[in-house]
């Protein structure tokens, strides 16, 4: 069933034990990335050798949202991971919050109800919005933006909250489709000595999360999502989105038409006309007529598609809303016979397309 069910505890998530692909560490990338981040991303070894996905992962681990406090960012990550029923991310962010100093009681309250907890009203409003962005059933509306403004958030803060929610929704899909094992952060909870050391490592840990990163703005990007990049105003999050989109769009592993079709299908699935229009524009550049575009979006079929492209579209639509174990099974089926690089890129494209379309709420703010 495509209906996404939110998880209220880690135990509720039925998670595939075998990762979709084995890890393939790239020591050179890890060394360079560690220099930039100050730590090594656990996900990176599963994303080798697709360069744009490694860069996207590094940006996901970086703080590109200077207007949102680190703590709120971590809380958004937890709430979105719960909404996506991503065992890997949920476990990691739960442990992260504990290292940051949140008590088990406060985390439990959040898990039980977003409406009733000890958090200030302003933060609660942001978390409810983040979950709406993630779930998108229905998509958040102008009224939700007004609610955030009434709670005291400025347009740039709202843009960054939406970025964090949507970006986490992408990361959750990536981790779910790849069926990543529990994050090493969870070991802190399992090991009594490390648990004991937690208060002393808190400062050090927070210091790793705090530095603000301002990514270089890539050369002008005109593919699907270009409108959303502009909606970020002056936030570094906009440059991060542009970097990921540009890297994905220029990657030669899959064709531009497959990329545009994936964005189009996810946009149709989520009911985002603006994103669908951008995907259609990209398809027109690839020689598709309006009738052909409407045909493929309506029937998920076209005489112009080969059997592989047809499978990609079906797979993309299954990632919009899903049940965790089922979508992992579909990913395993989809992977049959595909090379690592191609499979990774498709998994990356469908995941980031889901994040991108969810960010489109920002178009209401322009």
């Amino acid at each position: 069933m495509n209906t996404g069910h939110m998880a209220y505890s880690l135990d509720q998530i039925d998670w595939c034990d075998v990762p979709l692909l084995p890890p393939m560490p790239d020591p050179v990338w890890e060394r360079e990335s560690t220099k930039r981040l100050g730590f090594t991303s656990n996900m990176a070894k599963y994303l080798t050798p697709v360069r744009w996905m490694l860069q996207a992962d590094e940006l996901m681990q970086s703080r590109v949202t200077p207007n949102v406090p680190v703590d709120l960012g971590a809380l958004i990550s937890l709430v979105v991971a719960m909404d996506s029923s991503c065992r890997h991310c949920y476990g990691a962010f739960r442990s992260m919050l504990k290292i940051m100093g949140y008590s088990e009681g406060v985390i439990r309250q959040l898990e039980e109800s977003l409406a009733v907890n000890e958090l200030p009203n302003k933060e609660r409003t942001a978390l409810e919005f983040a979950r709406k962005v993630s779930h998108s059933a229905p998509r958040p509306s102008e009224a939700d933006l007004q609610e955030l403004k009434a709670a005291g958030y400025s347009p740039i803060e709202i843009a960054e909250i939406a970025y964090l929610a949507a970006n986490n929704a992408s990361g959750n899909r990536l981790a779910t489709l790849l069926a990543l094992p529990p994050d090493p952060l969870e070991e802190v909870e399992a090991n009594w000595f490390r648990k004991l050391k937690r208060p002393f490592t808190r400062k050090e840990f927070r210091a790793l999360l705090s530095p603000i990163r301002i990514p270089d703005l890539p050369p002008a990007y005109a593919g699907p999502g270009a409108g959303i990049v502009k909606a970020f105003g002056g936030s570094p999050a906009g440059a991060a989105v542009a970097t990921v989109l540009s890297g994905a769009w220029e990657s030669g592993i899959t064709s531009k038409r497959v990329k545009a079709l994936i964005v189009g299908v996810v946009a149709r699935g989520l009911g985002c006309a603006a994103c669908e229009a951008e995907a259609a524009e990209a398809l027109r550049h690839e020689g598709w007529t309006d009738a052909e575009i409407e045909q493929v979006m309506t029937y998920l079929n076209s005489g112009k598609l080969n059997p592989f492209e047809l499978k990609v579209l079906r797979f993309a639509r299954e990632t919009v809303r899903y049940q965790t174990r089922r979508v992992q099974q579909l990913a395993q089926n989809f992977a049959a016979g595909l090379e690592r690089e191609l499979l990774l890129e498709i998994v990356g494209l469908v995941s980031y397309a889901n994040g991108l379309v969810r960010m489109s709420i920002l178009l209401h703010q322009c």
């Binding site: 069933m1 495509n2 209906t3 996404g4 069910h5 939110m6 998880a7 209220y8 505890s9 135990d11 509720q12 439990r108 898990e111 039980e112 109800s113 977003l114 409406a115 779930h135 059933a137 229905p138 149709r268 699935g269 009911g271 045909q295 309506t298 029937y299 998920l300 079929n301 059997p307 047809l310 499978k311 579209l313 079906r314 797979f315 639509r317 299954e318 809303r321 089922r326 579909l330 089926n333 989809f334």
Partner: protein, 270 residues
């Protein structure tokens, strides 16, 4: 001296006794706190499981509204595709097969057909005896709801064909399923009494879908769809238009189409 020693012993004994009582009380309190924590954890888990179970048949926002404000009487208008499925001559079969076997046959049938529905984005709304009512497009929106419903209908037919092979091996009678599909606007919401609630859809679409399913017998076909569902299907579907028929509750005759098969590549990743 002796009195002083006795007094000292008495004080020491009283102090030991008091400390022992304090330790016992503390131990009891700790035990009580532990059992309270366990009870709280259990009730939290029960609540979480309940919320999770509720999500199976109601949208997340409906569940949250119910948790926040209690049962709301308001519904929402939305476009859905409704599928009705029924086993042909099931009542006659129930007279020839013993009850235990009948329930086993029926459960196997539900298992096979409901999986086909849920794997194609459908939601089982009701079991009506041997019948099934499924909804596509609720609780969550679905841009391909009618396409999904027809594919689900074809998958259900295939699932019953496979199930019949299994029944045949056991020397049991085979089943024949008929399906009707219709699309339109309904009111969706949580309805019922305070003790019996369900998330369901209400509207003429539901009745019409049921009537279309009953027309399958008249036309002698397995899958029948309405003219509102027809545009969702492309050239890969083998579809035949049937003569308009009057049905109960409708002033005008309704046009239906028989879906006879599917040609070519579907691209399914199942």
């Amino acid at each position: 001296m002796l009195t002083a020693t006795t007094r000292w012993i008495a004080v020491a004994a009283a102090s030991i006794f008091a400390n022992a009582m304090l330790i016992i009380s503390l131990c009891r309190l700790r035990k009580r706190a532990e059992s309270l924590t366990i009870a709280r954890e259990k009730s939290t888990l029960d609540l979480q499981n309940l919320q999770q179970a509720f999500h199976q048949f109601a949208p997340q926002r409906v569940v949250e509204e119910v948790i926040k404000r209690g049962v709301s009487t308001s519904g929402e208008t939305r476009e859905v595709t409704v599928l009705f499925a029924d086993i042909v001559e099931f009542t006659a079969m129930s007279e020839t097969v013993d009850p235990e076997t009948l329930v086993r046959i029926l459960n196997g049938y539900f298992e096979a057909t409901c999986t086909a529905v849920t794997h194609h984005g459908g939601h089982i709304a009701k079991f009506l005896g041997d019948g099934i009512m499924a909804i596509f497009g609720a609780p969550e929106n679905n841009a391909w709801q009618s396409l999904d419903a027809v594919i689900a209908a074809l998958s259900m037919r295939e699932a019953v064909r496979k199930y019949n092979e299994e029944l045949g091996r056991q020397g049991l009678p085979s089943l024949d399923v008929r399906i009707g599909v219709h699309k339109g606007t309904v009111v969706a919401g949580v309805v019922g009494s305070t003790e019996n609630l369900e998330y369901t859809v209400i509207g003429d679409v539901v009745n019409t879908a049921a009537r279309i399913e009953s027309l399958t017998r008249k036309h002698g076909v397995h899958i029948l769809i309405s003219a509102d569902v027809r545009p969702a299907l492309d050239g890969r579907f083998q579809v035949r238009e049937l003569p308009p028929e009057h049905v109960k509750g409708k002033a005008e005759p309704i046009v239906t189409f028989a879906v006879e098969g599917f040609r070519g590549e579907f691209g399914d990743v199942d």
